[in-house]
């Protein structure tokens, strides 16, 4: 039935539309610190088996090929690509990058933990280290109001110097989380990720220990979106959308021809 071709082409158009939606989000976040691009992944749908390959053709031989007609495509996963973005030097003492696969832990206003790669931290009115949207770093770290400098060591130890004191004071240590399957994390927006059943439980340890990453002070991690690559993908998605729509007109013409034949 040309009807089948119509429906199949519609699945193809939907897939390409979702593809463009995803590319638009990646491009919109090409300057978002700590942003990880998403890749949409597709699979073929079910097949209608009209003649099965390997079935008996007669008593002594079997069919070498069958007749299988597929019913289109679907988007199956939006894979977060956790490749590191470029590090940019900012000299801001509360900007941090993780040289490794770990995540910063932050406490949301509802009390739940969230995870982020975006290391642009600030101080709130109580001197607590928070993100730009106010989630506090976990474990909570408070910088004394009279501190003149803040130093963050590669192992996450934060120390401050205050006027009149010769030695710097240790005010806390950052803890990082890693996951068995970071791609299974759920993006919450605001550069935050949430633990899910697919990601596995967070393993928390101090930075600079095996595999979890070191902290670099005075840098931010840029978005890992490659604009040229996204543009190429967008052109190809647009063309594929067009090709699928051509299938719809071809199927429509066939149906029209059939109607003419019986008129």
């Amino acid at each position: 039935m040309p009807n089948r071709a119509l429906l199949t082409a519609a699945t193809g158009m939907r897939v390409q539309q979702q593809n463009v939606d995803n590319i638009a989000n990646n491009l919109a976040n090409a300057s978002t610190v700590g942003f990880k691009r998403t890749r949409l992944e597709f699979q073929d749908l079910l097949y209608q088996n009209m003649r099965t390959a390997g079935g008996a053709a007669n008593a002594s031989s079997s069919l070498p090929v069958g007749l299988q007609i597929g019913l289109g495509a679907r988007s199956v996963a939006s894979e977060k690509i956790f490749i590191q973005g470029d590090f940019k030097q900012t000299e801001n003492p509360l900007d941090m990058v993780i040289e490794g696969s770990g995540f910063f832990q932050v406490r949301q206003s509802n009390g739940d933990l969230a995870y982020t790669r975006s290391g642009q931290f600030h101080l709130n009115n109580q001197g607590q280290v928070v993100t730009a949207t106010g989630e506090s770093l976990e474990p909570a770290i408070t910088i004394p109001t009279d501190a003149t400098s803040v130093t963050i060591a590669p192992d996450g130890t934060i120390s401050t110097t205050t006027p009149g004191q010769a030695n710097s004071q240790n005010v806390g240590q950052i803890q990082l989380a890693i996951f068995a399957n970071p791609a299974g994390l759920e993006a919450l927006g605001r550069n935050l990720f949430k633990e899910t059943g697919a990601s596995g439980q967070a393993t928390v340890s101090s930075p600079d220990s095996s595999g979890i990453g070191r902290i670099g002070q005075g840098y931010v991690e840029g978005s890992n979106v490659n604009v040229v690559e996204e543009l190429v993908n967008m052109i190809s998605a647009q063309r594929m959308y067009e090709t699928n729509s051509k299938v719809i007109s071809a199927a429509d013409r066939m149906l029209g021809t059939i109607n003419q034949a019986v008129s």
Binding site: T8, F42, A53, G70, G72, Q201, S210
Partner: protein, 242 residues
Amino acid sequence: MNNGLYSAFLGMRSRQRTLDAQANNIANASTGGFKAERMIYSSFEADRKGTNSTQLLVTGVTTTSSTDFSEGAIQQTGRSLDVAIEGDAFLQIQTPRGARYTRAGNFNLNSNGQLVTKNGDLVVGERGPITVPKGEITIGSDGSLAAGGKVFDKLKLARFDNPANALTKEGDSLFIATGAENPQDNVNSRLTQGALESSNVSSLSEMVAMINNNREFDSMQKSMTLLMNDLGRKISGEIGKF
């Protein structure tokens, strides 16, 4: 049954099925590891042995489908759990329904640290399902898996002499063995980490084939109309005699 009409009908039906297959190919032009479906036309003649030779001979066309296993373009992704196969091998997957094969190497880890497909089915290594230890994962060109520089397993690769005969599609980027041939050990396929195989559908050739297919359908419709007009004239001629 008028033989010419029936032949024209079979021809039209085969072109419709071809359009269905083309629609599926085009819809899957962005599906990683997808293999295009080709329609094969074969003529048939009804066996006249033992029948009265004055009987009408039924001829026509039937359609079968065959998967085109040519390789798709390899695209660099840089992701450590992406793997592309250069050569004719397949990666083996373990599903609750039994063993399956795939060319789509976009794997993930599940919450137990096992290597899985996008549907959560386990990827099979030399010693069954693969549990990945912590550390930077590298995949060698022979499929050997290493974490932190230590080899812990090897991806199981299978190949078939005639995959078009030995495999059919199941959907979800998986192939199922028909039993026509036993899976054999990989001979000279190589794996590339950080890359994926694209669909082998060429939208240009699909478009050209689709236009051609539509024109063929039109011609058959024309012959059907001519035959029907002819038949109508004959009938009214016969009725006119009464």
